[in-house]
Each structure stands twice: as structure tokens, then as C-alpha cells.
């Protein structure tokens, strides 16, 4: 690959190093206020919240409405179909995702909100188009013990 040519001048200064005493973070993430969202994913449903006082819809869901100050929200289920607004295929994977095959992160317009998910069953990302219709669902990811939102192209195969 071109980037491996050694004749090219780069600033790369090495020197002796030692290893730090390792530190491992394992955070406990509070989900008590939004547990219905997580339950929904397990049931194949995607929930947003709507402020009962002013009608503002929140996705991702939140139970405090900063616009009117109310914390009285109702949970509403989102439609299962949407339209792709944008997407990317992640080849350089981060720590925690190294064991996954390259994956497609997509954002779809679903009703009044936008939803992020993984676009599945696509062999060639170059054939996917902004504006393509998608069907939404949820999928269990064993490696992380979590449910995520997944999308499939509705009327085409790529």
C-alpha cells in the first residue's frame, strides 16, 4: 500500500518506554429511567418518549423535558419502516468491536425522529443509496449481551 512507503518523511520519534500500572474501567450505567426502552428492544419494539405537557417527542428517549420542565412523559412505539438518511461501513473497528466483521452504521428517518442502527445483509455498500426504504427490527448481539436495532433494505438486495 502507498502509505507504507518508507522513503516518505514523517515525524516518528521513538524512545525507551515502560508499561503503566494498568487501569480497567467497568462502568455501571444507570438505565432505571429508560428501562422500558431496553425491555422494548428485547421484544422487538423501538420506543420513544413524548412529553404529555408540551408534546415534544424524544428519541433517544428521555423522561425530563427541558423545554417545559415536565417529567411526565408517555412511551410511544415507533413505526417499523423508515428511509435511509445516511450510512457508513466501519472497517477500522474500535476496542470491543475487533471481533466483529466490518459493520454498517445507518441513520433512518422513522416517523418524526431519526434512528441509528446496523444495516444488515448488505454485501456491497456501494449499491446502497440514501433514500432507500428500510425495515427495522432488533437483534441480540451475543458477544456484548445486548439487543440492538437492525435494519434491512426493503425493496432491494445489495
Amino acid at each position: 500500500m502507498a502509505e507504507k512507503k518508507t522513503s516518505r518523511k514523517t515525524v516518528k520519534m521513538e524512545g525507551p518506554t515502560i508499561d503503566s500500572v494498568p487501569i480497567v474501567y467497568r462502568h455501571k450505567i444507570p438505565i432505571g429511567r429508560v428501562v422500558k426502552y431496553f425491555d422494548g428492544l428485547r421484544e422487538g419494539r423501538i420506543y420513544a418518549t413524548r412529553c404529555k405537557n408540551c408534546g415534544t417527542v424524544y428519541y433517544p428517549p428521555q423522561i425530563d423535558c427541558p423545554y417545559c420542565g415536565s417529567s411526565d412523559v408517555e412511551w410511544i412505539e415507533l413505526p417499523r419502516e423508515g428511509v435511509l438518511e445516511t450510512f457508513t461501513k466501519v472497517y477500522a473497528r474500535p476496542q470491543g468491536y475487533e471481533d466483529f466483521e466490518p459493520y454498517i452504521v445507518a441513520i433512518a428517518r422513522v416517523g418524526d425522529v431519526r434512528v441509528m442502527g446496523w444495516l444488515m445483509n448488505v454485501k456491497d455498500e456501494r449499491c446502497v443509496r440514501v433514500g432507500d426504504e428500510v425495515v427495522l427490527g432488533t437483534t441480540y448481539i451475543d458477544k456484548h449481551n445486548k439487543y440492538i436495532i437492525t435494519m434491512q433494505l426493503k425493496n432491494k438486495q445489495c
Binding site: R8, T86, T88, A92, V105, G117, W118, R129, K146
Partner: protein, 387 residues
């Protein structure tokens, strides 16, 4: 508010700097800045240390940096605003001088990013939005976030991968002439297009690298500048700032950064100038698409025509505005905390006309602009300088 000017700038060599610890790296910039200003530590009343600090073993870097630089009594203030940390630290220092809290202040920006491996760096960068709702579920990396913008921009305006590549080609042309840049060589469009995919449609050469580096700036009040007899102060005419939603799914669209537009409007208004008055600019090209969107969102060209702007050479010397003559983040490297101040470093040198002939912008009005983004448009800073 008092008028504030830049009296000294300094910068380390950017790149992989496994030869130094964070405080040693910061000192390289601080030492050069003091020499450039003709001042000593005694003259500096307060230091503001900008470091995102997410990839170094030194989790509270400001105090070790201050001690190592001989400022141990100058009360550092630590600032963090992701990739816009450098501009945020300048903003804090600026307000201290403008308000009369102090007469002379130093902003120091530094980042050590190569102390951890690349997957760790991607995992840290991917947390630059809202961890729980995005990274946790979908492994959104930082290149992936900008790739989402690239895909949408290409779909809506017909921007091409070749046009993106031209940004890298231009910036490498100048990085090749910058002895402090991480990558001091030129590339071709073909090499950019053939580099390996990172987050499609962005390829390796569409992305800035993982960089270590430091930059610093000394600023002073107009009275202090008169007393110090500085011959070529560069004035901070305006700082505009803005921000946008943490969740990328809550953005208005994916073809531009609202934080840039709002920060630019504020800065232009405060400085009493228009986009066409800007002669030299350092813009936040963390990815090639970011520079294309910056042309549009800063008002150098109409929305959607950024690809055409680079194709016509309008962002090069001889065009409408000379952009990223330092090599930009793509060529020079992007050590988060240092980047915003490295932009000020470059523009100060440009406005003083101290650059080598083939990378000095031709100047009539002596107006420069620095555009520094944190996250994927999560923070936006636009700073206008004038000599």
C-alpha cells in the same frame, strides 16, 4: 472588554512522539512561545492548559505540565472541549485578559495520543458523542461519524470521492514544506482513492492521523502590548462559539455543521467583516469531507459547492481564500488539545509574513480565520485574527 493581542506563539514537532512524556512535549511549545514573545515565566500571570487527556496515563495533566514548565505558582486552569480543546483554552485565556482579570496569559494545548494502541484510540474517539445511545449499541468510531456526513453530502450534492481526495492532495502539498508536520510528503489523487477503507466512503488518506503534539500562545492586553513594545502584534478581533446535539440522530441534517455556521456568524458580526474578507484560514480538516463542509459553513462558497471550490483551486494560494497552508490536520497531524492553538500559531506566522515564500499567503487586508471543531460538530469555534 479590552482589546487583546497575540505576542508569542510556539509549537512542537507533531507526529508520533514516543520520545517524550506529556509535560516534556508541552515544554517544547512553551519554551518556543516564551522566546518568541521575549518573556519569561515571571511575566505570565496565569496558564490555561487545554488537553482532552483521554489517551494518556497522566489523567490530570495540567499540574504536571505547569510544574515542568516553571509555572508552578501560576494556577493552571484545565480546559476540555474534545478536538476544540485548544480554541476553548484560548477563549478562557482571552476572556481573562479582555476582562482585566490579568494582563498577560498563556494558553497551552497538548495531547499525547500514541500511548495507547489504535483500537483503544478508536474506542475513545467513538465516545465523542453520547456513549450510551450510539457507541454502546453501534460501535460508532470518529471516522464513522464524519463518514455519515460524507455519504449524505455526496448523495445530496454529487460531491465525489475525487473531490474529497483533492483536499488531501492540497494539504499535503503544504505539509511537505512544513518541518513541524507529521507527514512531510505529497500525495496524488490516485493514492488517496486507493488507500484502504477506514469508514466507507472515507479511506485512510481521507482521515487525519493519531498524533502527539503541543502548541502555545501568549496573549496580552493592548496596554501591556504597548509596554512590552511588541512590533507586530496580531489582534484577536473576535471569537465565535457554538455547539450542537450530543446525539447525532438529533441533528438537522448531515450535509453541514450547524456549530460552524453559528460560530462563524457570531465571529463575523463581532469582527465587522464578511467571509470574503478572509485571506488566510486554518480550517478543521480532521477528515477531507470536513474541509469541504467548512468552505460552505464558513460562507466561503454556497452550500453544496464545496467540492467544486476545491476542484477550481479556490481554497489554494491564488484562489479566493488560502486554506490550511500548514498542511491542516490531515498533513500536520491532529493532537486534540494542541490543534486549535496550532491554528493560531500558523495564522500568527502567516499574518506576520514569516512563512517560507511558497507557503506564505498573499495578504492585503491581513485578516485570518481559525475554525476549530470539537467532536462531530459538537463544539464549534471561529476565531478572527488581524494584524
Amino acid at each position: 472588554m479590552r482589546r487583546v493581542g497575540i505576542v508569542g506563539v510556539g509549537m512542537s514537532a507533531f507526529g508520533v512522539r514516543n520520545d517524550v512524556a506529556i509535560q516534556e512535549l508541552a515544554w517544547e511549545a512553551v519554551k518556543e512561545t516564551l522566546a518568541d514573545a521575549g518573556l519569561t515565566q515571571r511575566d505570565i500571570e496565569i496558564s490555561v492548559v487545554g488537553s482532552a487527556g483521554t489517551r494518556t496515563y497522566e489523567l490530570y495533566p495540567a499540574v504536571p505540565i505547569n510544574e515542568y514548565s516553571g509555572f508552578s505558582e501560576k494556577g493552571p486552569i484545565r480546559v476540555e472541549a474534545a478536538c476544540a480543546t485548544g480554541s476553548a483554552s484560548l477563549t478562557v485565556a482571552y476572556n481573562m485578559v479582555a476582562s482585566g482579570f490579568v494582563d498577560i496569559a498563556m494558553a497551552i494545548g497538548v495531547e499525547k495520543m500514541n500511548e495507547v494502541d489504535t483500537p483503544t484510540s478508536l474506542a475513545v474517539g467513538g465516545r465523542g458523542g453520547n456513549y450510551l445511545w450510539e457507541y454502546h449499541f453501534y460501535g460508532t468510531t470518529f471516522p464513522a461519524y464524519y463518514a455519515l456526513y460524507a455519504t449524505a453530502h455526496m448523495a445530496m450534492y454529487g460531491t465525489t470521492e475525487e473531490q474529497l481526495a483533492l483536499v488531501r492532495v492540497k494539504n499535503q502539498k503544504y505539509a511537505a514544506k512544513n518541518p513541524k508536520a507529521q507527514f512531510q510528503f505529497e500525495v496524488t489523487v490516485d493514492e488517496v482513492l486507493k488507500s484502504r477503507p477506514i469508514a466507507w466512503p472515507l479511506k485512510l488518506y481521507d482521515c487525519s492521523a493519531i498524533t502527539d503534539g503541543a502548541a502555545a500562545v501568549v496573549i496580552a492586553s493592548e496596554d501591556a502590548i504597548k509596554k512590552l513594545k511588541v512590533d507586530t502584534p496580531v489582534w484577536i478581533e473576535a471569537i465565535g462559539y457554538a455547539s450542537d446535539t450530543a446525539n447525532i440522530t438529533r441533528r438537522e441534517n448531515y450535509v453541514g455543521l450547524k456549530a460552524t455556521r453559528l460560530a462563524a456568524q457570531m465571529a463575523y458580526k463581532k469582527a465587522g467583516i464578511e467571509p470574503k474578507d478572509v485571506e488566510v484560514a486554518e480550517v478543521h480538516d480532521c477528515f477531507t469531507i470536513a474541509e469541504i463542509m467548512a468552505y460552505e459553513d464558513l460562507g466561503f462558497v454556497e452550500k453544496g459547492l464545496g467540492g467544486k471550490f476545491i476542484e477550481e483551486g479556490q481554497s489554494d494560494i491564488g484562489g479566493k481564500v488560502a486554506v490550511n497552508l500548514s498542511g491542516g490536520l490531515l498533513g500536520k497531524g491532529h493532537p486534540l488539545g494542541a490543534t486549535g492553538l496550532a491554528m493560531i500559531y500558523e495564522l500568527t506566522k502567516q499574518l506576520r509574513e514569516e512563512r517560507e515564500r511558497d507557503r506564505q499567503a498573499p495578504l492585503k487586508r491581513y485578516i485570518g480565520l481559525a475554525h476549530n471543531i470539537g467532536g462531530t460538530g459538537h463544539y464549534g469555534y471561529v476565531t478572527i485574527l488581524r494584524r
